[in-house]
Amino acid sequence: MAAPASTQTVDLIARFPGMVTADTRPGFTGFIVNKENLLEVAVAIRDEFGYDLLTAVTGVDYLAENKMEVVYHAFKTTGGAGLIFRVQVERVDPIEVPSLTGIWPGADFQEREAWDLLGIKFTGHPDLRRILMWEGYEGHPLRKDWKEAFYEEEVKPFKSRWPDGQHIYSEFKNPFRDNLNFPKDFDPEKYEPENEKDLYASLENHTLKGEGGLKTDQIVVNMGPHHPSTHGVLRVAVTLEGETIMGLKPVMGYLHRNHDKIGERNTYLQTIPYTDRLDYFNSMSNNFGYVTTVEKLMNIPVAERAEYIRVIMAELSRIQNHLIFIGMLMNDLGTMYTPSLYVFEERELILDIFEAVSGARMMCNYYRFGGVVRDIPDDILQRIKDLVVERIPAKTDEMERFLNDNEILVGRLKGVHLINAEDAIKYSITGPVLRAAGVPYDLRRADPYSIYDRFDFDVAVRYNGDMMDNYLIRFDEIRQSLRIIEQALKQIPQGPINSQKPAYQVRVPAGEAYGRIESPKGELAFYVVSNGKPNPYRYHVRPASFVNLTAIEHICRGAKIQDFVALLAMLDIVMGELDR
């Protein structure tokens, strides 16, 4: 494994004198790019320096300095550390930053999110609408001077809970007696709702015209937010010509639970249970990503035994995620319930282990800074061993035997194009979908975290980029995860499970950290900015589902509506993570 190169080895300053400066704030790395030169520098970063994968775009509101910052994290698909570059602009409306969608189309949704939540206008963005909240909503919630209706104090623990313990019912403090915030002199009776005019206008603008080969009327169909095969409360507005999808716009935010805002009020420790509820199939992986990020900031070691426990849990989580993926895909393809019943049987066994170690089936809240919260008893290790050595390999083979050669399955999946490697990179897709398109990019190898460099496993990769490959790669990954767990069970040492003393408050030095892990759905990253206080200044989740979904319009245009459900299922989205 090549040693991760420091970001500063890229000499952006020498290449662009006067346009780029180094970020010298303590705890920060990367470059500050002049707003005017952003596009030029971004093209060079992609083409000359080879950082072809733009994974995260987000904003930070530095209210005290009167600055708004947009942070970009770019990585190489050949592996190694990333390049952080940022733009700082005066915090005076309108805040305008050039859009990078022309260079990396994968920035699309993330820029829309920054507009929605922080009010940063991206000039040149083809479709800059609100994405998580609805059009017409008052204010940009993640700005530091914006306060939610149930606002109590800037940071937790709130004085009303501790030390005084006089909790007041939040509804009583709000003038509207509810979680509501209307502008002054608002009259609800005279209010004209916007009625999604802009959504349909945007759909109209992004629709292919007269290329479907049929001379029929185009009709607009709304799928969701209540639809059994949109994997939760996702909605898509589709323009159809016959059965061909001519235009498609996903509408999300139906499960926007304000993780970012709540995370900024929470102490570092309080956020761990919230991360459980991001991708609710994989609470272990989410914990892993978050604690890795904060540990990076705190610069603390992790107890040796805990590292192994973490890897075992994260890989078990990956196995049950992929099992569910297979079951749900079968549901979407029309073999209702039967395969799901098989996969849920195996999943229950894995959840039993989670329950035994953490006390909860789904929301494990298991990882802590420096280790994990409880030790694994030996009999549970034995149970894991029985599971990964005997039961799951046999059951995986069985499932493959039942399903893979099924005529209907092959007919639906084989040769139905999902995405090719070039487009997948352009759209910032990560995880199994990228690997099924032929790019062997797995963070466990490309930018190893925790102790993954100690294990012998292969990065699952397939090359066709069709749906069949996307389906089969899940089985490959299950097998690789089993290999990792087997090795971890052999190597796991005795010893303490946390390098730190248990504490309600952790000391986190000022600075920023971008921690990323290979979650079962792709790159799950957390961007945390600390100002040295007990609460994070900025807490941002970069979910795999959300960014992967950016490509859905590209994937589905020209496809058949019948395939849409399966194409969507292949991206393996989960709404808790997508909407946050």
């Binding site: 909240m133 608002f186 609800p188 939760g232 304000n258 009020r265 509820r277 609710y280 789904m362």
Partner: protein, 213 residues
């Protein structure tokens, strides 16, 4: 459970015709039929929906209690299982589904979020409990409730159904037509519950600007 039998307990029916003859009241017959086939709306919102699915799989098997037939359309559903965080953006869709369900209909709030907003109550896009809009019959605590807890909640609902009487239920009461109809909320600068318009207007007039955004 004694309650599950169709016959009333006080009648002595000879053993050899117990499966053929039942002596009972109309209420009991009616409720016995309804309680044994409560069809939930196939409707998941968040994390709780996964436990709802788990409750239907082989290990927990909700079908044992006669409520496994999930219907994707509200027109065929008897019960809405609000399984997860209710957000302001989603609320109009939920209300629409509820209004489309035919009577008799029940609402079960599954989990902390649906009951009260739960861990996300302070969030700006979160409705602090579905009971602000819909009449909830059973609340199931937990985050998320385990499948066992969900099944226990369903049995509670069955007990509630057992206690209802044709004479008093709202859906046969002429004067209470559409008593459960909920007007659609509007997504404006914030969520507008149209039943409370006057209240909002009054409070907004005295509102001191607390935000600059």
């Amino acid at each position: 459970m004694e309650n599950e039998k169709l016959s009333l307990p006080n009648y002595n029916i000879p053993e050899d015709i117990q499966n053929v003859v039942a002596i009972t009241t109309l209420d009991r017959l009616y409720n016995w039929g309804r309680r044994s086939s409560v069809w939930p709306l196939m409707f998941g919102l968040a994390c709780c929906a996964i436990e709802m699915i788990a409750a239907q799989t082989a290990r927990y098997d909700m079908a044992r209690f006669g409520m496994e037939v999930m219907r994707p359309t509200p027109r065929q559903a008897d019960m809405m299982l609000v399984s997860g965080t209710v957000t302001k953006k989603m609320l109009p869709a939920i209300i629409r589904l509820y209004n489309q369900m035919p009577e008799p209909k029940y609402v079960v709030a599954m989990g902390a979020c649906a009951s009260s907003g739960g861990p996300f109550k302070e969030g700006y896009n979160v409705v602090a409990g579905i009971d602000k809009f819909l009449p909830v019959d059973v609340y199931i605590p937990g985050c998320p409730p385990t499948p066992q807890a969900l099944i226990a909640g369903m049995i509670k609902l069955q007990e509630k159904i057992d206690k209802q009487s044709i004479k008093t239920v709202r859906w046969y009461d002429k004067n209470k037509a559409d008593s459960n109809y909920v007007p659609m909320p509007i997504l404006g600068p914030d969520l507008i519950d149209v039943r409370r318009n006057a209240e909002y207007k009054k409070a907004a007039a005295t509102q001191t600007t607390q935000e600059s955004a």
